[in-house]
């Protein structure tokens, strides 16, 4: 019998045998669900076209529910491997990758796949490493910090705040940083003949994007391998070779390097045969049932999200939500191309940067004279920021399930945790901007669509996570030297 089952006798006292309304958490959860439904109905009554934005909320709620249910945080996928030798989250993440790759392939065959590959270069590895280092200290990845905010964790809210403002600030930085930018980037950016109001030769991020990233190649594996057929390209090239095969290889690696020894010892197997190893792999997959289920559901949900947004784009004849907003008379905050950030799938960090930029803009800072906001993503009011509502949906979805599972608790961070949240969040923000996304946008959404840059990001994130655990251990050793941690 597993530890989980054996020790569950005292789990959640009073939960069994009582009516659902007898628990305050369920009442609060029902209130949240009711308020969300009323707001959604109100928005649709104003204009049916808001359904484009509401789809983001619905999927955000779904992501939040399953993230909290499976305690699904990609930070722990790399951190817990090195910190405590636990592969359960890495396995859950790989399950989600395999499922999402299949659903993304279906969406591609249906002709409404919204994915755009990321240019591959050293920046992906470096950004991933900085991001991976930061997540060890914040205690959660970009999505993890959102769902933990829904559990009442104010420290995680500080992480979200830090990621939001630091990203917005980074992309506007110029001054002395201009001197560190390679001359070749400046020259290449200048040669792009961009609109004058973007001042692309002033500011490190603009020169990094226009002078370096835009000169790199991006692509999906099916195209790179010459798989022309729609089915073979989507399922064999992108899904199987780009995502499923690498995931299976990584799961095999995790079993043999991390899980096998403990499993065989527990089973008292001294001379393992192939069937023992196969049972061991299955044991690793189901060792955390909730995480595995969450991985399955998130994989399917992410593909369905891409399909729903793609269908709506077809229906309204648009490529970007900005066009729909303009048609509805909301032109404030659009980029100079009349676009806003609208990935059409699960994404986290860019909309958080927009939140920060919107507030800084209201505070008087010039936030639109750059490629990130001025040309590509815009700075829409948070009330009409569709991916932003997906993030809020994650918080609310997680809050609903945390309340119903009696796991919601307002938790005020101490000084140490607050500092880790702010500094770690700033590192995550920097890593996300250099790597062009977080563990979702730069890894999960990319590898599942045959874009190998995501595996490079994961490599960087793993290296950064390893370094972060080393640094965290040093911090713990230093802390335990002068307080009551010594026996």
């Amino acid at each position: 019998m597993s530890n989980e089952v054996r020790a569950a006798t005292l789990d959640m006292p009073g939960l069994r045998g009582s009516a659902w309304y007898g628990h305050k958490g369920n009442i609060y959860a029902a209130i949240i669900v009711t308020l969300v439904m009323l707001c959604l109905a109100w928005a649709l009554l104003q204009d049916m076209r808001w359904i484009y934005l509401l789809v983001y909320i619905w999927f955000g709620l779904g992501y939040g529910i399953f993230l909290q249910y499976g305690r699904f945080c990609m930070a722990s996928a790399v951190r817990d491997l090195f910190a405590v030798g636990v592969p359960r989250m890495a396995v859950g993440m790989l399950i989600a990758v395999m499922l999402f790759s299949l659903t993304a392939a279906v969406v591609k065959v249906l002709g409404v796949n919204t994915f755009h590959p990321h240019p591959l270069g050293w920046h992906i590895l470096i950004g991933g490493a900085i991001f991976g280092f930061g997540i060890v200290f914040t205690g959660g990845c970009a999505s993890g910090s959102l769902y933990k905010s829904g559990e009442g964790n104010i420290g995680s809210m500080l992480v979200v705040l830090s990621i939001s403002f630091t990203q917005a600030y980074y992309v506007t930085l110029g001054g002395w940083l201009n001197k560190l930018v390679p001359a070749s980037w400046t020259a290449s950016a200048a040669a792009k003949d961009m609109p004058a109001q973007l001042s692309v030769t002033d500011g490190w991020f603009d020169q990094f994007v226009a002078g370096y990233v835009w000169d790199l190649h991006a692509g999906q594996l099916a195209d790179q391998l010459g798989f022309d057929g729609l089915f073979s390209g989507a399922f064999v090239g992108n899904a199987f070779l780009g995502a499923i095969l690498p995931s299976l290889l990584l799961m095999g690696y995790l079993y043999f390097v991390v899980y096998r020894k403990g499993y065989l010892r527990r089973r008292k197997v001294t001379v393992p045969r192939l069937r023992d190893h196969l049972r061991g792999v299955w044991s690793m997959v189901v060792s955390s049932r909730n995480t595995a289920i969450a991985g399955l559901c998130l994989g399917v949900l992410a593909g369905a999200h891409m399909w729903a947004t793609g269908e709506l784009r077809e229906h309204y004849g648009i490529f970007n939500f900005g066009e729909l907003l303009a048609n509805m008379g909301h032109t404030a905050g659009l980029s100079i191309q009349d676009t806003v950030f609208d990935p059409g799938y699960w994404y986290i960090t860019t909309q958080e940067a927009q939140w920060g930029a919107w507030l800084l803009d209201k505070g008087g800072m010039q936030m639109s004279d750059n490629i990130f906001f001025g040309l590509e993503n815009g700075i829409p009011n948070p009330l009409i920021n569709a991916p932003g509502w997906m993030s809020i949906g994650i918080i609310l979805g997680a809050a609903v399930i945390a309340l119903s599972r009696r796991e919601f608790k307002w938790k005020v961070p101490n000084l140490e945790t607050a500092m880790f949240a702010l500094v770690g969040g700033a590192l995550m923000g920097l890593g996300a901007r250099i790597g062009m996304g977080c563990n979702i946008g730069a890894f999960f959404a990319t590898v599942t669509n045959g874009d190998l840059s995501g595996w490079v990001f994961l490599g960087g994130m793993t290296a950064g996570g390893w370094l972060g655990v080393k640094a965290f251990n040093s911090w713990m050793e230093w802390r335990s030297g002068d307080d009551d941690l010594a026996i």
Partner: protein
């Protein structure tokens, strides 16, 4: 609010990481379990739900036994017997 680790009686220890988020609870638990002897019992107090799955998996892997777990309102009090 600081991490608290104390010896309650012979073979009985308490680790209180209430207020801390990932990765503190699981990393401090691992550190403390490494210090204990076989058969020692650790009472672990924490309030970070995300650490639950990791601590269970960690105990499974090491062969440590989760004797009892009381989970209520986002606060957790578990007793773990070191293998």
């Amino acid at each position: 609010m600081a991490v608290k680790f104390e010896k309650v009686s012979d073979g009985d220890y308490l680790l209180d990481v209430t207020g801390y988020v990932c990765p503190h609870p699981q990393m401090y638990t691992k550190k403390v379990l490494c210090k204990l002897g076989s058969g020692d019992v650790l009472t672990l107090m924490f309030d970070n739900p995300s650490s639950c799955e990791s601590i269970i998996a960690m105990c499974e892997s090491a062969g440590d036994e989760l004797l009892e777990r009381a989970d209520d309102g986002g606060s957790f009090r578990w007793r773990i017997c070191k293998a």
